[in-house]
Symmetry: C2
Subunit: 484 residues, 2 copies
Amino acid sequence: MNQSLKQIHEYIDEHLEEHVERIKEFVRIPSIAAENPEGVRRCAQKLANYFEELGCKKVEIVETAGQPVVYAHYDAQARNTLLVYLMYDVKQVSGEKWTLTDDPFDPKLVELPPFKKVLVGRGAINSKGPLVAFLNALFSIKACGEELPVNLKFVAEGEEELGSAHLKDFIKHRIEELKDAQACFSPSASQNIKGEVTLSLGCKGVVEFELECSGESWGRGPTVRPIHSSMAAAVESPIWRMIHALASMTDPRDPMKVVIEGFYDNVAPPTKEDLELVEKLAQTYDEKAIAEELGVKHFYNDLKGKELLLKMLYSTTLNIQGIQAGYTGPLFKTVLPEKIVVKMESRLVPNQTTTETVEKIRKHLDKLGYTDIKINEYPEANGVDDWSRTSPKAGIVQAVIEAYREYGFEPRVWPFSLGSSPQAIFTKDPLKLPFVSAGLSHGARAHAPDEYYVIEGNEKVKGLAHAEKFFVSLLYKLGERALR
Amino acid sequence: MNQSLKQIHEYIDEHLEEHVERIKEFVRIPSIAAENPEGVRRCAQKLANYFEELGCKKVEIVETAGQPVVYAHYDAQARNTLLVYLMYDVKQVSGEKWTLTDDPFDPKLVELPPFKKVLVGRGAINSKGPLVAFLNALFSIKACGEELPVNLKFVAEGEEELGSAHLKDFIKHRIEELKDAQACFSPSASQNIKGEVTLSLGCKGVVEFELECSGESWGRGPTVRPIHSSMAAAVESPIWRMIHALASMTDPRDPMKVVIEGFYDNVAPPTKEDLELVEKLAQTYDEKAIAEELGVKHFYNDLKGKELLLKMLYSTTLNIQGIQAGYTGPLFKTVLPEKIVVKMESRLVPNQTTTETVEKIRKHLDKLGYTDIKINEYPEANGVDDWSRTSPKAGIVQAVIEAYREYGFEPRVWPFSLGSSPQAIFTKDPLKLPFVSAGLSHGARAHAPDEYYVIEGNEKVKGLAHAEKFFVSLLYKLGERALR
């Protein structure tokens, strides 16, 4: 370890209390995107203050059609420029029963075995804790009289929890300022409760839509409201119509198989690179533990190990999130309903497009004569839609893996995660950057009561000091090599 | 008109205000079967008091496993004994917005065009108005010094609105006391808003049940709670399973056709008697008006007149009342649900049994391998289940038709109604009585705000005085002939 790195690490250890206080200060601001625009704005201002304090030469709170983006540029006169993606908003808390703090916005430090000290509060892990830990790392470098090893362009959005609906627009409008970035990084806490580190080089996309069958658009059955079911002998049912329309989309003997024409056309098989990653992943993948955690007794076809991972990763899906029709209260009500709404979702994998699923379903319905069945799309809920891939060979990926190894961790590298995130905004047109999210430490219960971020861990799970030191080490690595 | 009948009619006209007051007094008691056992009991006591006042030699409030039955025997030493079926409970009012009275249990007399005076209140038409009108008729006969022309055995239940779950038990326990009755009569107000009189000689049955598919009973898919839908690529869905199970039950090209084996086996074609009734009905049946009222643009196969009536009457059904599964709130939630519940119903026609539908569905599901899909039955909701038929040739039917004609009305006679009622309790084992519900006047909005019963009608719709006079005339006819 070189002298300045050692000095920075010492600085972090000495100022840890102060650093925890900065996280608490940030968590205290109730930046609930869905409910509290004032809190969101206050949080944006606080973040802008941090950037100014850091020495960013340009700090802006940029208005969008939704919540503002905080943009900041730190010019270190360095060789590389890193785009840093952050989110400063949090999920709602109403209806949640917190037990480790009276108020989710009054963060508390508590012992939570197996951890000596965790910070409990809304946003602790998702994602104010890791965000401030990253800033603490930057402050520490500067406090030791060093210049940052990379130039940074921060893009912090205030509506990730609403689907990042306006982030694409922001990028498009600011492309001239952002286009010199060589990679995109997002700070996180990637250890699970056992200390294992996961690194995902992308994500799946997701398209959500409703199917709606109603007497009104069909022209048959009840059109305005449910009618008495004594008429069901002579009046048709939009519910039965929808049941058959749905049933036509998947194989009755195996409903995991979608039989809509061309549904799988653009699903790419795993690449050789991917297969290598999956082989390696399978060596440590514990499907029994995952199944138990989920409350699932059998995976599809009782697949295991590599085969299960391949199925999970390289499958597009057609999932029914929910169905609402007619009377659903206690016992019964003799009605023939006028409408049924089915909430559906498809997970997108390389090389599917974000529009093809809905187009194929429309075509399928029309072909079978279900031209009246409506597909309702809600663009405001679909900011996060596209899949994303970053090559394992990208410089930033190699730097992250090296940094993890330096701290004693061999990351489990997934070609992409099963979930979805807005990273395609950075990895596809117009930026086309490699994207990595990484960090030590652990947190859990995002979107749930008693959300926490580990401050003092144990032998396996690192606490805040190590999380910040990791970010420092990583930044130095990112200054030394090509990032793409 | 004989002298005593004339005298009774005059008595009714002279005491109408008092008679209206008796209805109001009865409506004021909040006998909500589902919510107010105290109100139900108070109403039972009031009814018992009326029976005592009338001169019944035996009046009992009989406990059941549910709400009490009020039983009373009036012995007129007459040739015929009539069982009178009454209900004294009413439907809930919560959530309803009444405009014609501040309180559904503070009945008001108001003008409601095209009617000069209607009584507004919960139970006004269903069925406290007609019930008290019938009692008023009996009181009037006695007040004029006449003996009642028939012996009466009153059976008044307090949980019709809960499905008459304990009425069968009562009949079974009291069969010795009831078996000398020759027919069963239920007072009602059978005129529609245009004054037309309908007479239904029976009803359809109804069987209600839930189908439930869950990961828990299937052993696949999420078993405990919804899981994140990113797992849908490798975890099966109970929702899709249910969609295919449902789709297997009806013809996709015509979901009105049930394809469950033997589903239609016991559906009897119309008898010659029935066909004659339907022919006659078709002459006045206005399907356009009915469709408009229902908000339905097309009946099944665009059927009209006699064909439509035959389809409505002689079809059993498999209706979906409602479906509940997963997330049904605003926009979307990325879940793979663990359970789906479908509320279903089948209307029974002669000669179906009350148990065959569920048995056939069970067999159908099992045959296709859906042994895990549960059929939930709720016996407490299925007191009214069987279909009922009364021959148009029964003495009581002929008497009712004659009485209507005497008052200038040619009733539209339906072989049975499309809806369901507890009348099979009287028309099948062990009583096997002909059953008729009849009465002049009109009312509407049962189970809805501003429920009303016409007190002063117009040229076509009779008011309370005529309703009572009709009951008097009918009672005399029922004393003169064989009722079976």
